[in-house]
Symmetry: C2
Subunit: 450 residues, 2 copies
């Protein structure tokens, strides 16, 4: 059995902790059983493991999220399939399926489960997935979905209506799908035993392979990926589920929620404050997540969420926190992420000034993890000054290698080839200056260390 | 006529905008008539000038505030007298009086007015000062005080009780002083025509000179200052006002308040937001002062004050903002100010890390104003790397002078003599590292530029 985890979203609704590179599912805010903190995606994969379902995980995601996935799920040996561009859930799932078939040489009879990477749920959810796998293996249907037992006639979800005759069975044949009904129709659907569509699908690899074959027929995964733009921009629900001739649903009843807003997330935080915070004991129903190094004092507040990061500061009444997106639009597009986790380590922007003469200066604190390195590269529009502040490493500058240690200062001019590899965890203060400071002002070259 | 302005206080109640170096009176948050912003002390001196009283101002303050005073009042030619250590208002005033007498050679018949540097008040206040000066010149009393007409029986103020027979006169002889009465007594005092003591005093220089002579008798100001610890730690009210044989009071009726709490200050801010802020139009009675470079979004809040600086972040219900001091105590003493204005320019700390191996690294952005310089100095516990990022200057390093420009990197080792002078406004990223990073790890030497 193979699991495909879908990891997408830019996670604006949890700004400033989430940004383009750090979507909501990567925020390490939830309490893990070992007393530390874990992210939504780490929680889901831990639960998959606890349910005995951890055989093989493939994460379908964007290039921007690949480093985060690798850092957070590396220990589980998860494979990562990155979309060349954002399209929709059908192409993303089809690409991951092509990877399993053509790159991993999976058997077409293999059962595949597709699921989101961030539901906040419980063990029963994963037990239901095990039942779905069994149903596929027993050929109960071509496609088996999970149906979440509704708690109210919500208009936010798609509904799966089972055949009336199957109402008491565990595996129910699907009569039809209804996308986001109005309140009145939703009430009617509940009387028919309809379930919410939670975006969890099980099928044999061959079933999806035959559908993707209609759009892109190519012998290797690399060729399928190169022709990614030929897949239609359509959701898996529309392209596959609604067109399938043989579809079944298995219900799940239990805790299931999306921690995608501050209001929902704060309900599941392990503590009222995270970070350097002094919270007035008289503050009511207030949650503060302070990821800045500055102290934060919160006095006499009520029903408030305060969140800070190098990207910005949010102070919001919890009931109004869902309006965040509208207000965020007023900031205009963020010039750049102010902190990022990368495969080689992490950085944060600690200062940025634009001078009237056009000179732009960006100062970063970098941490390169022991054994990792930054690729051999040149910049055309900026120079960089590196002050090594902790750890040791190996530097190559214009083809010459040498060891570096705290107190060493390296001046990298425009067009000068450079790379650095951390021997121990290596901390650097980097001062970039130039007329144009953009992430894409990098040309990378291969390099073999001596 | 000479004015002595008293500038003290660490201004914790307006944290995080005020700190040890930047007391509340220096915050440039009030609207000035030219449409720009001015601080409380700038507003008071502007009003002194508008009232035609600007002949000579001497500011009695601490060494920590001297640079701020000089930056903010430089244009008025104010003299600054710094106390060698903090004592109380009598020694501070006595020292400033000794300066006028022994350093500026003022006549002992000269009228002196002592006043706080930060009342939020109106023109009538300064017209009352003019009347006090006239009363001293006409020898109405040895000491003339301003009495603020009370608006309520407050227990926060000292009261001045005039002679009953003088109730209708403009200049009233003082019967007695009552320090911070309880509510009942305050009500009784109001029926007697008592006034609040606003801390404004007028007298002839000779009057105070004869009192200070009792404690320190020395021919020069430098000698008086060197013996500062011989002055008693006592307030001017107790040492002078309550012991004076001939005291009069002149009432002032009008706007007079202390903008010393966030609740009081926000009432006088020109706009609801200052800095990079998106404020939800539905937020009620909310004020946001954001001095960080990060964007701040505030949604659905009510009766809230949010203030940020490099020292920290405050989120407080306005009615509770007076409790700030208690909560601030929980932070423990601040390791260092995170930004400061100095005579030579300003700096902010942009990053600070302490490594497990004891290595300490502090990164600052410095701006040295054109024509100003940093003194010739050495550090014993740290080295510094300067990356010049904008402007031009003249550097001296181990006795050798040279010009510097953007892109230049200067590595200053422990015990290496250095100084820098800005030719144009000079911006530097400074990386300090060492086992001990404290402001006092500086030994300064004289230097004459080539």
């Amino acid at each position: 059995m193979k699991i495909i985890l879908l990891s997408g979203g830019s996670g604006q609704r949890l700004w400033p902790l989430s940004n383009g590179a750090q979507a909501k599912q990567f925020l390490r805010l939830l309490k893990s059983p070992d007393g530390n903190k874990e992210s939504m995606v780490q929680r889901v994969v831990r639960q998959i493991k606890e349910a005995g379902l951890l055989e093989s995980i493939t994460v379908a995601t964007s290039a921007a999220q690949a480093d985060m996935i690798s850092n957070q799920l590396g220990q589980y040996g998860a494979d990562i399939v990155t979309e060349p561009a954002r399209r929709d859930t059908f192409p993303a799932i089809a690409l991951a399926a092509a990877y399993l078939q053509k790159e991993k040489q999976c058997d077409l009879d293999e059962t595949v489960v597709v699921m989101p990477c961030d539901p906040y749920t419980e063990i029963g959810y994963f037990q239901t997935i095990a039942k779905m796998v069994k149903a596929v293996e027993e050929s109960a249907a071509d496609l088996v979905l999970m149906g979440i037992t509704p708690t109210n006639p919500s208009s936010k979800f798609g509904y799966i209506v089972p055949e009336a005759t199957d109402a008491q069975k565990e595996t129910r044949k699907v009569n039809r799908f209804v996308e986001k009904p109005n309140h009145e129709l939703a009430e009617q659907l509940l009387t028919e035993g309809a379930l919410w569509n939670g975006g969890v699908f099980a099928f044999r690899l061959g079933y999806i392979a035959s559908i993707l074959e209609k759009y892109v027929s190519a012998p290797t995964f690399a060729e399928v990926r190169a022709r990614y733009q030929e897949f239609p921009k359509i959701s898996f629900d529309y392209e596959v589920a609604e067109r399938a001739e043989s579809v079944a649903v298995i219900p799940f009843t239990g805790q299931w929620k999306d921690l995608g807003t501050w209001n929902a997330l704060t309900e599941e935080l392990p503590t009222q404050t995270i970070g350097n915070v002094v919270l007035d004991p008289e503050a009511k129903n207030t949650h503060v997540v302070n990821e800045l190094d500055l102290p934060l004092i919160c006095i006499g507040t009520d029903n408030l969420v305060v969140a800070t990061s190098n990207d910005g500061i949010l102070v919001a009444d919890k009931a109004h926190s869902e309006d965040l997106k509208t207000h965020l639009a007023q900031l205009g597009p963020a010039a750049r992420p102010m902190y990022e986790e990368r495969r080689w380590g992490k950085y944060k922007v600690i200062d940025h000034i634009e001078f009237p003469d056009g000179q732009n200066v960006l100062t970063k604190q970098l941490c390169i993890r022991a054994g990792k390195s930054i690729s051999y590269q040149v910049h055309h529009h900026r120079e960089e000054v590196w002050t090594i502040i902790n750890g040791t490493g190996r530097l190559v500058l214009s083809g010459e290698e040498r060891n570096v240690k705290p107190g060493d200062v390296i001046h990298i001019r425009r067009e000068q080839f450079h790379a650095i590899r951390a021997i121990t965890d290596l901390y650097i203060i980097e001062v970039q200056s130039g007329d144009r400071l953009t992430e894409d002002d990098i040309t990378r070259y291969p390099y073999t260390w001596e």
